[in-house]
């Protein structure tokens, strides 16, 4: 265990934000989970007792007699905002006094930084470069993330859970978002920040960053991988056959994945399924299955050393 290395990574000034973000995120997930639990048990109670559901007891913090339903913004909201501004200022002041912003040597195009890392919030995308070609990781994926976020309000047809925390009423939506935000976005950033060392190689926490380390990692393409297990007469050798094979694999991933998701979604989310138009449903499918494809490609790469699935003269996936 090389504690010095661990400390060097954690205390690198530009890594501090992500070090701070992880406990912050844990705290806010806890805060949201606690409120969701309270609301869910209230929902259960109201569903079991239709008479109670007709009363005004519809919030986890029930209204107490004598309270005003509405309060003046001045001072009741403004004092909270003012306090928040003061607290943020104090945090920022202390942070700025105790920790200096990084400044390396002057820019030198002839001296490559190793590892050359993007700012922490883009490290998830940089980590994707390991698994995908730059045109996917750097261009297609950010575009898909942006558009994927933008279509959310238009494909989520569930009218429940607007304006309060809940888990039971929105399992699919919240589960998908947690998967995308926590499992993909945040943990990719964490890997990019803490695990990736010189040469963008995998270093476990506590492993010394060895700038001379060489890894003899032979990555092969999926057709060649499959060839190992096929009799030689059936081997996929020509470029045309490989590109057709890849197209079939990627296509069938979307078709089979789509069918599986369809079977599950129809069964466990019947009301939302019924509400969705064909357009909404197909957009959901495309984004959802593409998102699922991400960790699958990562697994193929990390566990089976597979570089490309689909090889064409123009692009490789």
């Amino acid at each position: 265990m090389d504690w010095k290395q661990v400390w060097e990574i954690i205390s690198a000034p530009d890594n501090v934000p992500i070090v701070a973000m992880i406990p912050l995120l844990a705290f806010y997930i806890y805060l949201a989970w606690r409120q969701a639990k309270a609301n869910d048990s209230l929902i259960e109670q109201l569903e079991a007792d239709p008479a109670l559901a007709k009363t005004h007891h519809r919030k986890a913090w029930p209204f107490k007699p004598g309270w005003q339903k509405e309060v003046h913004v001045w001072p009741f909201l403004l004092r909270v905002e003012f306090l928040a501004a003061i607290i943020v200022t104090i945090i920022l002041m202390i942070w700025s006094i105790t920790l200096n912003a990084p400044l390396e040597e002057p820019a030198n195009p002839n001296l490559t930084m190793n590892p050359a890392k993007a700012p922490w919030y883009f490290l998830g995308l940089q980590e994707m470069l390991v698994y995908f070609d730059p045109w996917i990781a750097g261009v297609v994926m950010p575009t898909l993330i942006i558009f994927g976020l933008m279509v959310i309000p238009y494909i989520d047809t569930n009218p429940l859970g607007a304006g309060y925390y809940t888990w039971k009423q929105r399992k699919f939506a919240i589960g998908t978002f947690l998967f995308g935000f926590i499992v993909l976005w945040v943990s990719m950033i964490t890997i990019g920040t803490f695990i990736r060392g010189p040469g963008w190689q995998w270093f476990w926490p506590g492993q010394t960053w060895d700038h001379n380390r060489l890894i003899y990692e032979v990555n092969i393409d999926l057709p060649d991988f499959v060839n190992r297990y096929l009799p030689s007469s059936l081997n996929i050798t020509s470029n045309l056959a490989k590109s057709i094979f890849g197209a079939v694999v990627v296509g069938s991933f979307f078709i089979v994945g789509g069918l599986v998701v369809h079977a599950l979604f129809r069964r466990y989310n019947p009301k939302n399924y019924k509400r969705m138009s064909l357009l909404q449903y197909s957009i959901l499918m495309v984004f959802f299955i593409t998102m699922i494809g991400l960790p699958i490609k990562m697994l193929l790469r990390l566990a089976f050393h597979i570089k490309y699935v689909w090889i064409t003269p123009w692009f490789n996936v």
């Binding site: 929902i43 990084p102 400044l103 700012p119």
Partner: protein, 308 residues
């Protein structure tokens, strides 16, 4: 010569010029003796209640007594506060619901504008000067290091706050009808925040920024159709000298033009675009019915299905 008019009235008794002046001055002194103390007393009286002065009432358009009406007017008649409603649901002020992240993001934007403007006084976006200016800031400018640190950390904090804000809005389902459009404005603001932070990364002109931006913009090489290494780009005859990366950097490598371009995007271009979207975002928050909750829970059995 026309007869001089008598200033002392009708009796026709003419007085000399000296007398006229004498009585006039006497009268002036008399008036000073009586009027000055009276006016001084009056002024002292108004000092006791400054809120009634013309200056005060011209600035503040309503009284400050602690009445519900004045509390509401204090918000509604103030240009900085009027985006707030006069009254809100008592649960909405609970920190646990909103986490305050949207407001904190906006506050950090203000902090960044302030510290950034101060930094601009000391910074030249040129290859010769940029790095030296940062060194000068750190070692010679009074509070220069604190200024730079605050700008840096506020930027990182803003990225965190934006992401947490989006997380909260998702978890509370606040993007649902009628707030779909405002969620989209928010997504654009998230992208603009990341771009603001990224364009600022290059400005110290050190190894860290240089290589981060090199790595970042190298991805633009691979843009389908528009980057010279991207798929299908040969159909548009893309080279390193006419592709989308060239447009971003103003050259084929990260150099003086890239520094100037990211400076202008960072200090002028993106802040203005982001401000416009922020105005829209805040305005829509109000128009869509204020913050979304905490709302009363809805039961599955109560949902009325739209007829098809």
């Amino acid at each position: 010569m026309p007869e001089e008019k008598n200033s002392n009235g009708k009796n026709g008794k003419s007085t000399g010029l000296v007398d006229t002046i004498k009585t006039g001055v006497k009268e002036d002194f008399e008036s000073l003796k009586t009027d000055l103390p009276a006016k001084a007393k009056e002024s002292l009286e108004t000092l006791k209640s400054p809120t009634k002065t013309q200056v005060y009432t011209s600035i503040f358009r309503h009284k400050h007594d602690d009445t519900p009406r004045n509390r509401a007017l204090g918000v509604l008649s103030n240009v900085f506060l009027h985006l707030h409603p006069a009254k809100i649901n008592r649960d909405s002020v609970r920190y646990s619901y909103t986490w305050g992240m949207g407001g904190i993001t906006f506050y950090l934007f203000l902090v960044l504008t302030f510290t950034g403007t101060l930094l601009m006084f000391y910074y030249h976006p040129s290859k010769v000067q940029a790095f030296r200016d940062v060194l000068y800031l750190e070692h010679d400018v009074p509070f220069g290091r604190l200024l730079r640190n605050m700008h840096r950390w506020a930027a990182h904090l803003m990225v965190i706050a934006v992401e947490l804000h989006m997380f909260r809005v998702f978890l509370t389902g606040s993007y649902k009808k009628p707030r779909e459009f405002n969620w989209n404005v928010g997504v654009i603001l998230l992208v603009l925040t990341l771009l603001l932070s990224f364009t600022g990364y290059l400005l110290p002109d050190d190894q860290l920024g240089f290589w981060a931006v090199t790595v970042g913009t190298n991805m633009a090489r691979a843009t389908p159709l528009l980057g010279h290494e991207g798929p299908f780009s040969n159909y548009l005859n893309m080279t390193p000298y006419n592709d989308v990366r060239f447009g971003l950097l103003g050259g084929s490598i990260v150099d003086a033009n890239a520094l100037l371009r990211s400076y202008i995007w960072h200090c002028i271009g993106i802040p203005i675009i982001a401000s416009i979207f922020m105005v829209l975002h805040f305005w829509r928050v109000r128009k869509d019915g204020g913050i979304s909750g905490p709302a009363q829970v809805i039961l599955d059995s109560e949902v009325k299905e739209a007829r098809k």
